[in-house]
């Protein structure tokens, strides 16, 4: 097997706030093979975005800091890299699309320039050539009337259009890895599928590996080869998409699944839009966490041991990792 293009191990990213240490990411390991699509799922606030930002070393600091771990990209340890070398990777070999298309573009710069800027920087192209490339990218992300649009400002574009521009910026330098942080969450339901399809098309075209962060298991089922499930700053389960849906081994993953009505590939739009908030209870604040499994307070299967120590990660089946004391003894999941 070829080594993964990205290997994150034991990553801990903490925020040192006045109220205490927020352990936003607390010992997460994951890897990404070349050209693969990895899904990263979990409820709001479980540390998905901070994991992604840690990979690019863009965690807001202060108060945030990567306190431990390793991020190896194509054989290079990113956490040890000089700032200039790190900048040469951002937007070039690893790029990112953000959750908020309405605010992620600079309001006082034309969209053409915002794309051209990245190209000029990483490919050392002169202004004109960079702008030509930007206009080409606008066509690739299916924005009509590219020359006119390139001269427009973000406020003149719709949310879907802006996210297309973000995709154009991210893909302009044909990155090895694309991190997409809930690229469709903020968009209109009718636009979501279009943007997702566009992203996958761009991925096919360039052969980039994609780390797709989402709330939406329906999206994962349609797009990802492998899935990492996060809860309260930790990875609780990891498996191939097929294995995960065939046999979820963590009670939390089961909870996520039963919270969407149907799980087949042609789940209708309303199901796909369902947010994963229907498990009783709430994600704990990631501050001053009690020892033991962080999911125990909400878990129907929790036992005494669950409240004493966090369960170690075990390989329950080939390639299927789970961190739960009771993973083996869970009853068969009921299927509707």
């Amino acid at each position: 097997m070829t080594p993964p293009v990205l290997a994150v191990s034991g990553l801990r990213t903490h925020f040192f706030t006045r109220d205490g240490v927020v352990k936003a990411v607390d010992g997460v390991s994951l890897s990404l093979a070349r050209g693969e699509t990895l899904g990263l799922v979990g409820e709001s606030g479980c540390g998905k975005s901070i994991t992604a930002l840690s990979i690019l070393r863009l965690v807001p600091s202060p108060p945030g800091r990567i306190v431990e771990g390793s991020v190896r990209f194509d054989g290079t340890e990113l956490l040890d890299l000089e700032p200039a070398a790190m900048r040469a990777i951002r937007g070039n070999r690893i790029s990112m699309i953000f959750q908020e298309p309405m605010t992620s573009l600079n309001p006082v710069m034309t969209v053409g320039r915002q794309i051209a800027e990245t190209v000029a920087l990483h490919q050392q192209l002169p202004r004109r050539a960079a702008m030509d490339r930007a206009i080409e990218m606008l066509a690739l992300v299916k924005i009509p009337d590219t020359r006119r649009r390139a001269a427009e400002y973000p406020h003149q574009l719709s949310g879907g259009m802006r996210q297309r521009v973000m995709i154009a910026i991210a893909m302009a330098c044909t990155p090895t890895i694309l991190i997409a942080d809930e690229p469709t969450t903020a968009l209109d339901v009718t636009i979501q599928a279009q943007i997702l399809d566009l992203m996958l098309e761009m991925k096919e075209r360039t052969g980039a590996a994609v780390m797709l962060i989402t709330h939406d298991l329906g999206v994962i089922a349609e797009t990802a080869q492998r899935v990492v499930v996060m809860y309260a700053g930790r990875k609780v389960e990891e498996a191939s998409t097929r294995d995960l849906f065939a046999r979820p081994r963590h009670p939390y993953t089961r909870g996520l699944m039963t919270s969407i009505p149907r799980l087949n590939r042609d789940a209708d739009e309303s199901a796909r839009a369902t947010r994963l908030t229907e498990i009783p209870g709430m994600v704990p604040a990631l501050i001053n966490l009690a020892p033991g499994c962080t999911y125990a307070p909400r878990c129907a299967y929790a036992t005494g041991q669950c409240r004493i120590a966090f369960p170690p990660e075990v390989e329950a089946a080939p390639g299927h990792l789970v961190a739960c004391w009771n993973a083996e003894s869970l009853p068969e999941m009921e299927r509707a």
Binding site: L58, R90, S95, F98, L121
Partner: protein
């Protein structure tokens, strides 16, 4: 763009008209008989009558206003009561020192305060930030004339690097001109810098927390580029606004600073004219200052549309 410019200029006309009426009223609504005011305390009744006839003050008010406004339109601001010279000539002579002082002050303040504010916001909470903020409080709270005298004492008297006071026109050489204007400009700039540095820091803090700044970093752009091209450009509208407002404050500051440094500019002319109750001169100066202020506002409004594509009038 031109349509906007024309619209904006037309919109300034009512302001100018109101200012003109106010300036006219200054003399005529002042308590007492304008002719008596002009003639002074020692004048006889006959003198007063003569002045009244000469200035047309025996005419109806409306006629007087239109006569006066008509002269204004032809650039005639009347004559000084004290020296009998045309007011426009008096102002013209005093324009260069004041213009030099204002432009130099603006130049120094913007050149220093904007970078200071940017760095303070970038390194918020650090000692640089605290230093800049401390300086801002200091610049605000110490009066200009105190700073002026301290600077004179240090740089002119003790170190003997720069002249104590006075003004040399640019025509007499660059260094003599510059050496005379440095201390007054720095004096005046201090309070102004404090203002600009504070607003720059606040506006930058606001923009630096925006999502598009994270995007800029994610593109791999270097910090200076992110700070200047992305953050500062977005923070520019409030900064330019405050610089524009500050020009109004400068006009007051010029009067004090010119007195401290014995600069023969409009500020001094104002003080002298007020002390001598030289009404035509006072009127002329107010008109010039108001005109300058209207012009600055016009420039600021124009800059808004250049800086922020979302602003359209």
């Amino acid at each position: 763009m031109y349509v906007f410019l024309i619209r904006r200029v037309l919109a300034a006309i009512p302001v100018v008209v109101v200012v003109t009426i106010f300036v006219f009223a200054l003399l005529h609504l002042a308590p007492g008989d304008p002719a008596a005011i002009i003639a002074g305390d020692l004048a006889t009744a006959e003198d007063v009558a003569k002045i009244r006839a000469k200035l047309g003050l025996d005419q109806p008010l409306m006629i007087q206003f239109f006569t006066w406004a008509g002269q204004l339109l032809r650039g005639d601001l009347g004559n000084s009561i004290f020296s009998a010279h045309p007011v426009s000539q008096l102002i013209g002579q005093r324009l260069e020192p004041t213009l030099t002082l204002t432009v130099m002050t603006l130049f120094i303040s913007i050149l220093l305060a904007v970078p200071l504010g940017v760095i303070a916001a970038w390194r918020v909470g650090s000692w640089i930030d605290r230093g800049v903020m401390g300086f801002a409080v200091f610049g605000f709270s110490v009066p200009g004339f105190v700073i002026g005298y301290v600077l004179i004492w240090v740089f002119a008297i003790e170190l003997d690097w720069l002249p104590v006071q006075g003004y040399t026109p640019l025509a007499k050489g660059f260094w003599p001109w510059l050496s005379n204007i440095i201390l007054p400009s720095v004096t005046l700039a201090l309070a102004y810098m404090a203002l600009i540095a504070r607003i720059t820091r606040a506006a930058m803090l606001e923009t630096l927390s925006q999502d598009y700044i994270r995007t800029a970093h994610a593109k791999g752009l270097a910090t200076p580029h992110v700070l200047l091209r992305h953050a500062l450009h977005n923070a520019a509208v409030p900064i330019v606004t405050v610089i524009g407002i500050g020009v109004a404050l400068l006009i007051g500051g010029v009067v004090v600073t010119e007195s401290v440094f014995a600069i023969p500019g409009l500020g001094r002319l104002t003080v002298d004219a007020i002390l001598r109750r030289d009404y035509p001169v006072i009127q002329g100066i107010i008109l010039v200052f108001s005109g300058a202020y209207v012009l600055v506002n016009l420039i600021v409004d124009m800059l808004y549309t250049v800086l922020d594509p979302r602003i359209r009038y």
